[in-house]
């Protein structure tokens, strides 16, 4: 059961801090482990060593060797451990693709990949560190669940669930400060999208940092007397098909918003569903198949067309295309 905030403001702590404090709690279960590849402090914070001391043997630094770390995690899961393993999003997904596929998915391992700072969140680390393709490459892996939490409440709740859940998971997570979307006592269901705002003219389907932008876009559209529904599609795979279809039927036009390449991400997943089952106009906000670059997040969101204004523009276009218009 989710409870949406009445006002959307910045979180009081960074997402990295939320992750770290939640992991500290989860590691009271002796089987829960956090594996790092020398980017531990970036997520766990400067008190990482204290956390490691509190939970001997549970927080291990594998060194800068992500491929080995994935294999080690799969081995740990084979003997009943519950590993979360973190690196920056490109390194935990792109660099380790075959290990995730063979040692992980194909083998039926139970590991939780945590990729921090996806897409424009990589900011000043620039194009080498800015994955717009992490979801794309992993979405074609059978039996892998892809999650992109929108705020700290969701991240913490999903982390707790993943201790109990078996299977292969990729959590696409920020480190910086997000907008608080959900009240603290919200509980999320993996695979079930959340309606954050009702609307009848168009639906904006978003994930991660784009959820806050989608809510801002809905405000812009509201002033133009356009009622936009906003849905948080935090489970990118397996996607909530019935939600997509309900929105297609009830609002007749869709906009997807993702901090990712428009190829094979959330937008593609939505088009696959509507294309086969209920064709309606779909407009995709996302990175137009190009590489990242350095900059602050605000600049990068403008540069790649990921702002609330971009979403609103696509929403108007989707509405205009209803009934077969160009």
């Amino acid at each position: 059961m989710i409870k949406v905030m009445e006002q959307f403001e910045a979180e009081k702590e960074t997402m990295a801090s939320a992750y770290s404090s939640q992991m500290d709690k989860l590691m009271e279960n002796k089987d829960v482990m956090e594996l790092e590849a020398d980017l531990g402090v970036c997520l766990m914070g400067t008190d990482m060593k204290d956390i490691a001391k509190r939970h001997p043997g549970q927080l291990i630094n594998c060194g800068i060797q992500e491929a080995n770390m994935v294999g080690v995690a799969c081995g740990l899961s084979a003997v009943g451990k519950i590993p979360f393993l973190h690196s920056f999003a490109p390194f935990i997904t792109r660099r380790t693709n075959d290990q995730i596929f063979i040692s992980g998915c194909y083998s039926g391992a139970n590991i939780r990949l945590v990729g921090s700072d996806p897409g424009v969140m990589a900011a000043y680390n620039g194009g080498t560190h800015m994955p717009f393709e992490d979801v794309a490459v992993l979405r074609a892996f059978p039996q892998l669940t892809i999650l992109e939490p929108a705020d700290n409440t969701m991240l913490k709740n999903l982390m707790r669930q993943l201790v109990e859940e078996k299977g292969m998971f990729y959590i696409r997570t920020a480190r910086k400060t997000m907008t608080k979307i959900y009240k603290d006592d919200s509980i999320f269901t993996i695979g079930k999208a959340n309606i954050l705002r009702e609307g009848t003219d168009v639906t904006i389907l978003a994930a991660g940092i784009m959820v806050a932008e989608a809510l801002k876009a809905a405000e812009i559209l509201y002033k133009e007397k356009i009622a936009a529904r906003v849905v948080d599609m935090f489970t990118i795979k397996p996607i909530d098909q019935s939600m997509v279809l309900d929105c297609a039927k009830e609002t007749g036009a869709l906009v997807t918003a993702e901090n990712h390449n428009v190829i094979n991400g959330l937008g593609s997943a939505v088009c696959e569903i509507t294309g086969e089952a209920y064709p309606v106009p779909v407009e995709r906000v996302g990175v137009q198949d190009c590489f990242g670059e350095v900059g602050d997040i605000e600049y990068l969101m403008q540069r790649f067309g990921l702002t609330a204004k971009d979403i609103a523009k696509k929403a108007r276009r989707a509405i205009a295309r209803k009934g077969g218009c160009a």
């Binding site: 080995n68 995690a73 290990q99």
Partner: protein, 274 residues
Amino acid sequence: MLNKEELAKLQAFAKDIRIKTIHQMKIRGFGHIGGAMSIADVLSVLYGKWMRYDPKNPDLPERDWLICSKGHAGPAIYAALALKGFFPLEWLDTLNQPGTRLPSHCDHKKTPGIDVTTGSLGQGLSVACGIALGKKQMGESNTIYCFMGDGESQEGQNWEAITFAAQFGLDNLILFLDNNKMQLDDMTENIENMESFTEKFESFHWDAAEIDGHDYEAIDRAIEHAKAVKGKPSVIVINTIKGKGCKFAEEMWNHHVSVSEKQADEAIALLEQA
């Protein structure tokens, strides 16, 4: 030290592993014969003497684990597992047949007794490290055995795992490096000359031994030694002959070959006479 009776038992078991491996490939008409034959003697000593396992309960928590990172040697392990009763011998007629439980590469989800899925080279040792680390943390006494090919050692991930295993002092991990000196395209030394494996591993702080991988006494002694090593992982470099014991394979380039009924029958007959 093996007594006469033990030695005879292990030799007979290795012979059966080889016959059953050739048999599997004969039915399908092809297979990775070379790298399966080269590890048959070590498999015999492991499953015949050292490994703890229960064929009726392949997931027994107290068992020793075997990870064959060179996953294409699966048929030799299937032979050992079937002979030890993990599954019916008739399954060996189904290698690579549609819907089989015995695919060409090791698959934990399909085959009882196969502990880890492998096939994409270079990944098995990392998984073995995770298992060894987990078992060590739990204070359990399982030994984790792993096979890696000499050609396979060219994969960089192995060297990540080799440093990891040393750093975490995984003394419950014993790696057999199958130094059969050939890989798919050419002699290993012509592609990437690894020179001395023992020197490399020793410089990575492993305990390293090098033996004739077809000498039962040497295999037995090396395992006994490796199990006694404390504080670091062990590698046993096994110098082997690719295709060992399978006449037609030994005489040809043998990574993955066609196996005719006639060739297989002759090779099996020779093994039976030996």
